[in-house]
Subunit: 337 residues, 2 copies
Amino acid sequence: MAHQVTIKDIAKILGISASTVSRALKDHPDISPKTKRMVQAFAQKVNYRPNALALNLRRSKTNTIGIIIPEIVHHFFSSVISGIEKVAYAAGYNVMICQSNEDYNREVIDAQALLDNRVDGVLMSLSKTTFDHDHIRNLIDHGIPVVFFDRAPNEIEADKVFIDDFMGAKIATHHLIATGCRNILHLAAPSHLLIGQRRRDGYIKALEENGIQFNPDFIIKCDTRDDVFANAGKILQLANQIDGIFTVNDSTAIATMQVLMKNGIRIPEHISVIGFGDGPNANICYPPLSTVEQKGTEIGKEATQLLLNQIENTEDIYKPTTKTITPVLRIRESTLM
Amino acid sequence: MAHQVTIKDIAKILGISASTVSRALKDHPDISPKTKRMVQAFAQKVNYRPNALALNLRRSKTNTIGIIIPEIVHHFFSSVISGIEKVAYAAGYNVMICQSNEDYNREVIDAQALLDNRVDGVLMSLSKTTFDHDHIRNLIDHGIPVVFFDRAPNEIEADKVFIDDFMGAKIATHHLIATGCRNILHLAAPSHLLIGQRRRDGYIKALEENGIQFNPDFIIKCDTRDDVFANAGKILQLANQIDGIFTVNDSTAIATMQVLMKNGIRIPEHISVIGFGDGPNANICYPPLSTVEQKGTEIGKEATQLLLNQIENTEDIYKPTTKTITPVLRIRESTLM
DNA sequence: AACGACGTCGCAAACGTTTGCGACGTCGTT
DNA sequence: AACGACGTCGCAAACGTTTGCGACGTCGTT
């Protein structure tokens, strides 16, 4: 119940003014060595700690960065957070995390909450249900830098960091083709998300480069475990026409393998499956999943670095950049040799 | 770049005092209906939002709760966060998350940061390397309520919420015995963690209740995937003496299964394996893992509810309670029928 | 006509800092 | 002896709110 000791308390006890205490604590040249020693010793003794609330108000800077993500319980996002946390912490920033639950309305409220709390910057990945971006413009208009990762809107000029989705999808598809697949199904994310669009484009590009005719029937919108079970009928119906599947993420791939295997289809002998993401599941599922590595932690670090640059570099007008992280193929046992 | 409009701004433009604006905005009876209408209409027009920083300082209340967890990239902890976030949000609180990375020193710094930022309360789960609790007492001494979940110190009086580790371990071990196992290895967490201790005790209790002699050689300290690989030799050496394994968590169980299977041991025919946790991995690994369900989200919700009670109930002295959530057996294919 | 009640507002202080500016004393120089 | 330079400190305002208290006007009552 001990109330935190303040500069005023110290001043009163020591019989000097608060300004002198404040200056003594930060080694200001105006203060005599004797006073400094006295103040610093006393402050240490009573374990003085500046009140961050007062500091925040005074400098209107909170040393806090806000994060808005679709959901925390998701390996990719939690590893992004981990990366963010690491570099933010090293730079003396705290993080405030909001979860949109893939809900646009919640995302709007979150953005407002972060603005109300005057975070110094925002790191975000769009929810699947947001098509309007006024809440983001609102942040930017109020001078709060925003950088996106993974899921970013086309229409907003801002720093963005992605894995190279196009390239990743391309090398995944290439790998399927190189191991003999010719009729490749793609389980895709909605195309209003850049990532859905780009991974689909990479898939198509790989087909083209190998002279394989693109078949529009071979793309199904299906990007969650539940989606797979909902679409199981459709997928099984295609099963005898295809020899490979490229999915937009790992959990879709794993659920697909489970559905196929339960119906007597052998992987990779009958159908090869490759995912995208490389979470820990890829090592744990059966068979171990070939996939594309999408380094969440690295993305988080890069995004935070970009944000800090913007926060600390207030002078000139900022020119948005897009960082792209090159993905790597992880070949395991769900594809042929 | 538009600076946020303040009460002072409104007062100046409308030609009235800031106090009147403040009161008009919160419908104070002292203010005339005409003035209220004018102020409220104007505030709405310019999208006035109170500055949370100033409010925080004024009431020395931040409507923020701090979280300290060992690591975010872990299904159990991220689902706890998800639960916390849910009830905190509903009650108008933000969350500030710190990751100790299982490092005591970092945990101390995190606690200090949360204190500096005057969070209204702290939810935490101890790192594996903390044996000293002064940083926690410091929080409590300064009037910040703390509630623990999952990993809590014995020596501190505070609200705590656990799954019933003892019971969970007991029913898991019972299940192994009921399906025919007699020589059961336990891969355990360090016993200075309550959870390690309790799960071990539950294991021993189950043996006792079934008249099975407890063999101290059948407990190995081994509670991560990496630990399993490090201890692979020791485990394989025991393999022909045992017919069941109960592990302190799922990832240990899964890694163990992989090590055993790679060495030609069949699961569950030769050795049954049961875990603790029931993350998504349990469904994804091969064979699907029998385990004990440890509802992270529910734990997070309960813990937050306890914390909010404490925060809002400042009147009388608080009597710490411990909530215990009953676990449920999830039988899948890594144990016999 | 005088007084009290009430409605409506503004002043000022406060939360805990920081910082520009001026005040005061001492000392050395001319 | 007088003046300037410099060292050392405190006052006051500011960040954006809230709130106790008092001020002022109007109206109704006796």
